[in-house]
């Protein structure tokens, strides 16, 4: 069952939406319904990027290739607090280790 409803939109917004929808091959009805469903579900109106392992694998291959090209490099750039905030290095020096943090709640891949 469908319900007809009328809304008054800003001219420019309507024009841009219509042009974009046409180029994306999406009907305006679908677009509005999608936005309303997303709103009701508390989701952003813009579709989220979809994760895929295919894209992930491609990225990892590219990253490996670039790494080979760049040669040896630092291994601690993920220590954001040390590099960007001037904290001491993570680990034993600061008395903070991920191992300790993990103990109470280890990750279980089988548990959703």
């Amino acid at each position: 069952m469908s319900t007809r409803f009328t809304v008054v939109l800003d001219d420019e917004l309507y024009r841009e939406t219509k042009v974009r929808a046409a180029s994306d091959g999406v009907a305006l009805k679908e677009l509005v319904e999608g936005a309303l469903r997303a709103y009701l579900a508390g989701e952003p109106a813009v579709p989220r990027p979809r994760f895929s392992w295919e894209k992930w694998d491609r990225w990892q291959d590219e990253a490996e290739a670039l790494d080979v090209e760049l040669g040896p490099g630092p291994d601690d750039l993920s220590d954001i607090k040390y590099h960007l905030y001037g904290y001491p290095k993570a680990g034993a020096e600061r008395g903070l280790t991920l191992k300790l943090a993990e103990e109470p709640a280890p990750y279980n891949a089988n548990q959703r």
Partner: protein, 138 residues
């Protein structure tokens, strides 16, 4: 499964020589087995900027590649004004915590976006993760 992605996990995604790369590989392998393509990654613009700054130390190409892939694979949430105010408030209120304003903002966004877990190798972020009721993948 919706996972919040922290900068400490984003960097080893781009840099294979990183110290946390072996851990990241294990986590990603488990996620692939358990969830297949049914995964969503969420992060914030602030977190992405932290990771980009770090990747830039390795070279322009690394930061560009990281930016393009994260944009493709993750939902990058811009930190809005109310989140920023609350994150700053929490940062200033908790004297004994070593988390940053960005960490507090991340925890707020992770909750608001109903993430079930956080992928992070930053021990300062761990207490916030637990307080927010999020599972830590590390």
């Amino acid at each position: 499964m919706r996972i919040f992605l922290d900068a400490s996990a984003m960097v080893p995604m781009e840099l294979p020589q990183d110290q946390h790369r072996p851990r990241l590989d294990v986590v990603m392998r488990r996620l692939r087995m358990a969830h297949g393509d049914n995964l969503e990654f969420v992060t914030t613009n602030w977190t992405l900027y932290e990771a980009l700054a770090q990747a830039r130390r390795r070279g322009w190409q690394a930061s560009m590649q990281l930016f393009q892939r994260i944009e493709e694979l993750a939902d990058i949430v811009p930190v809005d004004e109310s989140t920023e105010v609350e994150a700053l408030h929490r940062f200033l209120r908790w004297r004994d915590k070593s988390a940053s304003v960005v960490d507090y903002a991340n925890a707020l966004v992770a909750q608001a976006r109903r993430c079930q877990a956080v992928l992070s190798f930053d021990a300062d972020f761990v207490p916030l993760t637990a307080a927010a009721g999020l599972r830590l993948l590390a």
